[in-house]
Symmetry: C2
Subunit: 342 residues, 2 copies
Amino acid sequence: MKKSIENKSVKMRDVADHVGVSVATVSRALRNPEVVSEALRTKIAAAIESLGYLPDPAARALASTRSDVIGVILPSVTNNVFSAVMDGIYSAAEGTRYSVQLGYSRYAPLSEENLIRLFLRQRPTGLIVTGIDQTDAAKALLQEADCPVVQIMETGPAPHDRMIGFSHYQAARAATAHLIAQGYSQPGFLGARMDPRTQRRLQGFRDELRAHGIDEGRRVHSTTYPSSVTLGGHLLAQLMDAAPETDAIFCINDDLALGAMFEAQRRNLRIPQDLGICGFNDMEMMGAAEPSLTSVRTFRREMGAGAVQLILDALSDGARSDGNIVDLGFEIMPRHSTRRNS
Amino acid sequence: MKKSIENKSVKMRDVADHVGVSVATVSRALRNPEVVSEALRTKIAAAIESLGYLPDPAARALASTRSDVIGVILPSVTNNVFSAVMDGIYSAAEGTRYSVQLGYSRYAPLSEENLIRLFLRQRPTGLIVTGIDQTDAAKALLQEADCPVVQIMETGPAPHDRMIGFSHYQAARAATAHLIAQGYSQPGFLGARMDPRTQRRLQGFRDELRAHGIDEGRRVHSTTYPSSVTLGGHLLAQLMDAAPETDAIFCINDDLALGAMFEAQRRNLRIPQDLGICGFNDMEMMGAAEPSLTSVRTFRREMGAGAVQLILDALSDGARSDGNIVDLGFEIMPRHSTRRNS
DNA sequence: AGAGTTAATGTAAGCGGTTACATTCGTCAA
DNA sequence: TTGACGAATGTAACCGCTTACATTAACTCT
C-alpha cells in the first residue's frame, strides 16, 4: 500500500489525468459506478488508491446541492441517556458515506430552532431531532424540510415524518403499577429538570395512582434543576420530611434513584422493606448497585441506530410513507430495591 | 421580526440585489466589516435580517479553502469522561463562527488515523485529538496539517503543536501516595480498558509503591474489557480472592471504584477501615455516594474549553509559538472512603 | 491645479466537484 | 450499405461564495 507522499491535495483532476479520462468519468465512477465501463472503473479505483485521493466534501455538497451529513440535535451532551443514543447513531452511520453532525440545544427550544435552521442550510441527507416539543417555527421548518426527518426518544401523534422511541407516559404508568403490585401503597415521585418529556412521566405516575384510588398527597417532589446523584439525595430528604408515610419512590432517572438510595442508607431506611426505589433508563450501574436497583429499561442505542436506519430507508424508498412510527417500547427490570413481595 | 416566508433559499445574491450592491460587498461586510462603509454595513445587516439569509457553509468552504469547523477526535462516545470534555468544547465554540465536528475512534489508533485524514480533507480551522499515542502515519499527518492541532487529556513531551491536559502518571502517584499516607500498607490496583493512558497510571502506582518500599504482590488486577460498575465489582472480587491482605485500592476510574464499593459492601468489608477506595476523575456521584468516595479530580470541561481557546489563540497569534503546553493539573479529593487516619 | 493617495466598491476568476447535454463509436435491423 | 440506437465518455455550465485586481471618487499635498 504505497500511498503518495504528496497526497496533500490530490483532486479529482489528478486522478482523471493519471488514468487518462475526464473528471466527469471519475465523478461518475464514484457516484454511479454502473454507467462506467468495468475496465475504467477498476483503473480509476486503482488510481484513487495509489494517489490517496479523498473527495472534498464542500465541493461535493456545493455541486450536488446535497451534503452527506446527517444532522442530529440533542438536548444535552453530558446526560448519559443521550450518549447511548449517540453511540447508536455513530455506529449505524459508520461504513456509510454519511457523516454525523451534532448539535446541542441545552434543553432550550429556541436554541433547537436555530440549530434546525442552521443544519437545514447545509441541505443534509437527513435530520434527527429529539422529542416532540419543538417551537412552532421549528415545526414549520421541519415540515418544509426536503430531507427525511426523524424524531427520536418518543412516540406520539402526528410525526413530522418518521419517529422512533417509546411512550414515556406508558413507561411511567408501568413503573408505578409495578410499585403498587409489590405492595407499596404510598408511592412518591422524584423529578428533576422537568421538561415536557418528564412531565409526561409525571402524568403517567399520577394517572396510575388515580386508577388505584391512591392520593398523591405531598409525595411529588421535583425541581427544574439539572439532575444529579446529589440532587437525588436532597429530593428524597425533602420528600421524607414532607411525607414520612412514603414507602416507595419512582425516580425520573437513575441518577436520582442512586442518590435516593444513598440518602436512604444514610437515614437507615431499609430497602426494599421501608422504601422501594425505582429508577428510569436502566443504566448499567443499576444492576451492579448494592442493593440492586429496579429500573425501566429503555432502548437508547437502538433508538439512535434505528433513527439512522429510518433515514437510509426513506432515501431508498423515495416514497414518503408518512406516519411511520417505530415504538421500541420499554421493559420493567425488577430488582432487589422493589422486591417486597416474594 | 418579520422573517420572509420564502427563506427557503436566500442567497447572497438576493441580499446584494435587495441593497443594490454587488455580492462582493456583501461578502466583505460579513468577513471584513471594517473595509465596508458604515452606511452599507447597516443596510446589509438589515437586509440579511429581513430576508433571513444564512450563508451556505459548503460554498464558503470551497471558495475560501477553509471550513469553519473544528474537528474533534475522541476515543469513546459513552464514556462520561469525554462527555464532560465535549461539553467544554461545545460551550467554548458556541458564539463563535465555528462549528464542531466530532469523530469517534473507539480506542482504535488506526481508526483515529483515518478520521484525522478525513477531517484534514475538510481543511478545518483546527483539530483536537485525544492523547499522545497516535500511529506514526497519524503523527505525520498532524505534523503537516496546516491548521492548529491541540492534543488533549494529557501532557507530555513534544506536542505536535499545542497540548492541554495533565500528567496521568503524576496523578496516579499522588493518589497512591494519599492511600499510603492514610496508613494503608497493601494497596491494590484495579484497571480496565488498559490503553497507553491508563498504563501510565499503572506506572505511577507502581513507582510510588516502590518509592515506599512496598511490594505490589498479586494486587494489580486489570483487564482490557471496557470499564463498568459491574466490572469494578468483579475485579475487586478477583483481587480479594487472590490477595486477601489488600487493604486499599486505587481504581483507574470512578465506575470501577463504585462497583468495588458495592462489592465491598456485599462482602461486609468496612470502608474505610478494612478497605480504602480511591477512584479517578471525580465524577459527580463520588461525593454523593454513601460512604463518599475519594477520587482524583480532573478538569475535563476545562480541557475541552481550553483546547478550543488554544485554537482561537493560535489563529490570532499567527505565530506558531511551539511547545505550548497547558498543564491543568489534578486534585486529590479525600473523602470518607479513605479516611482512616483522622 | 495636478499628481498622488486612500477608501470604497465593482468585476470576474476561481474553489473542486456534479450533471445535463453533446459526441463518438460499435452494433444491428432493414 | 446505411441509418437508428444505445452505451460509454467528453464538454462545459453551474453550485454559492471569496478574493485578487481594477475602477472610481474623494482628499491631501506641494
